[in-house]
């Protein structure tokens, strides 16, 4: 067990190092902005005082290393700065944006991150059981008409852009048959059932996008094992095909299945951008795209860091779970 613990700690440290490198990449990328950042955002009509105020505000008069250290230090303490829209306002009116009533980046992101996690959670709750069940069924009835139909439809679902699936769902489930609302305007203090109802269409879109991948991997992982001697043995014992697959093949196929599920969950959290924009869902993806459009760099930076952190964390989880589920990986030769 201590060996396992050591592996987990090792992976976590590796993840931290990766996150650190990612933060450097993000910082360098943002600092590749041309000219002075303050001038760039204020435009040509800016007064000298306004530019100086913004520079002070953002600490642009310091060197790059100090700025990076300040940013990273702030990020570790949970302070990601002030959105430019706020800083801009403060700069133009000669006040500072450090007062008590200022909305910081964290204030903006936290509620939206919660919404996004809720959306991803709902989609995962539908997608994972569905994908594993369908994967087992297609492996069981492989090469039947059912399997072939599933193969064609899942390939189509994987390759369609998310907004295509989203609009098809809107067309059939919101416009022609008003089952769910096509706009997911969620606000705090909403009843859970109402919230679920409004989240349903984006969740279904994401479900369609990830189920296909997970199902195909489940099917492939199980079929891969069917040539093994112990499966042959189980078959010769006279077990039913369903029992052979669920009891004998599935536990051994767990490692690749878990990996693909974790990877798809990572996709759920990061791939929500387009879906959130289509359904006007107030999540972090929507915030990210809006900030990209108005070039609100502190928010873009922060969102990027959070997305990367979630992505790395889920990949790590995939790694660790597959090691736990496969004793052979626990004792590498």
């Amino acid at each position: 067990m201590s060996g396992l613990l050591r592996i987990i700690v090792q992976r976590l440290l590796l993840g931290l190092v990766t996150l650190f490198v990612v933060s450097i990449i993000i910082f360098v990328a943002v600092n590749a902005l041309p000219g002075d950042f303050a001038e760039a955002i204020l435009g040509q009509g800016a007064t000298e005082e306004a530019v100086t105020a913004i520079r002070e505000q953002l600490g642009l008069n310091q060197n790059a290393f100090t700025r990076y250290a300040t940013w990273l230090g702030g990020a570790v303490r949970g302070d990601l700065g002030v959105p430019l829209s706020q800083a801009l306002f403060a700069g133009n009116f000669g006040t500072t944006a450090t007062g008590t009533d200022v909305i910081t980046v964290v204030d903006q992101i936290i509620p939206r991150l919660k919404n996004t996690l809720f959306l991803a959670g709902v989609s995962a709750a539908i997608a994972v059981p569905l994908a594993v069940t369908l994967g087992v069924l297609t492996a069981l009835y492989r090469n039947s008409a059912f399997d072939k139909a599933m193969n064609v439809s899942t390939l189509s679902a994987i390759s369609s852009p998310e907004f295509f699936i989203a609009y098809i769902l809107i067309l059939f489930l919101a416009v022609l048959n008003p089952v769910f609302p096509s706009l997911s305007n969620i606000f705090p203090g909403m009843e859970f059932s109402e919230r679920l109802n409004r989240t349903m269409l984006p969740a279904l879109t994401l479900t369609l996008a990830v189920t296909a991948q997970m199902m195909r991997m489940t099917r492939a992982a199980i079929i891969n094992l069917l040539a093994s001697p112990y499966i042959e043995m189980a078959r010769l014992k006279g077990l039913s095909p369903m029992r052979v697959i669920v009891k004998h093949a599935l536990p051994n196929a767990l490692a690749p299945i878990i990996t693909v599920i974790a990877l798809n969950l990572a996709f759920l959290v990061t791939g929500v951008v387009v879906v959130e924009v289509v359904f006007v869902y107030p999540g972090i993806g929507q915030l990210f795209v809006d900030s990209v459009k108005i070039r609100d760099i502190p928010v873009v930076q922060a969102c990027c860091l959070i997305f990367a952190a979630v992505y790395i964390l889920l990949n790590l989880t995939a790694d660790i779970l597959s090691i736990i589920s496969n004793p052979r990986l626990r004792h590498p030769k």
């Binding site: 990328a29 902005l33 059912f146 852009p161 059939f172 387009v274 990367a308």
Partner: protein, 398 residues
Amino acid sequence: MTLLYLALFAAVLFGVAYVFRLVGRSATGNAPFFRDMPFGVAYGYMLAAFLLLFGIYYYLKPVDLEGVPQAGVMFFRWAVQGFIMFAAAAFVFRLIFRNVGTEGTKKLFRSMPLTAAFGVMIIIAYAFVSIFAGLIAPYGQEEILGAANIVPGGNPAMGGNPEYPLGTDQIGRDILSRLIYGAQNTVGIAFVTTCLAFFIGGSLGFLAATLGGWLDQLLSRAVDALMAIPALIFALLLITIATAWAGSASWQVTIYMIFIIAIIDSTRVFRLSRAVGLNIVVMDYIEAAKLRGEGLGYLVFREMLPNAYAPLLAEFGLRFCFVFLTIASLSFLGVGIQPPLADWGTMVRDLSQFINFAAFAPNVAVAPLLAAGAIALLTVGVNFVVDWMLHKSSGLKE
């Protein structure tokens, strides 16, 4: 309430499936097909039969109820007709190439499943349209014509105009022409980007595999770090910066976008080509070539590349789909290919509000779906071909 009906339906189907198996057993004198049928399979057959019957019933419902168009039925008919049409076209296409062409292609098409034939047909059609877009399109892509918001369908009674078979958009540009030019712009840019990604990622990957040592370590760690940021997010971050660089010259954003996506995707290509290259480098013929004193260029291009051909080609197809979808998504979000150029992602976004009119004017709602469907059709086609290629090269029979 809906849930109650669904439960009731499931229960009824349960009974029907039981009766079906029972009747089957007694009617065929306990034939093995029915004797060994688990209940779940019987249920599946009944469900499929029910869906088929319901589909036929729904298809035959009247399109017009006392002057009110039944939008649901119309969309269902269009979907079914489209599906049958494509399947038939793919079948005819395969039939033609089974009998025409060289021995090699004839043999290839004989072993091809219908889905792969469909994919090949789609790819050829898209390539043709995107190369000859200027000749096929009835109007220019930026040309603003007489009236805005003409309904697709070309039926004057429903607000259409036969001169613009797919209607015009909100500022009066012909949608058909823009769709055709969109093939040139979107597919062309995606293709160029993929080629660039393959050039960068492929050559660096092979180099890392051949030379090894510190170069390999450096490149691999750099790629690891770049891959830790989700692709679409990283692309959006870099494009934010690129728009600041480009200033008011919006065409520059498109150029920057090509390079940004090419570099992000080249990390994935690097991984694959390095892995494939490592397997080849240890072969005897590479050793022999090295002993002959061949240079690095000869090793990579004449010895390694031909042997890595199959996995790289399949990866090219998949990578193209990813790049294509990324570009379409970026354009859909409004930061990809910039306006005067016709582009499918932008078209979907611009026309998307028309979908809300679907209930009483089905023709109007088609416009945004056409552009989105054009994207989906190509990626589905490419994926079908890649799936078939991978299946063939892996030699999986079961």
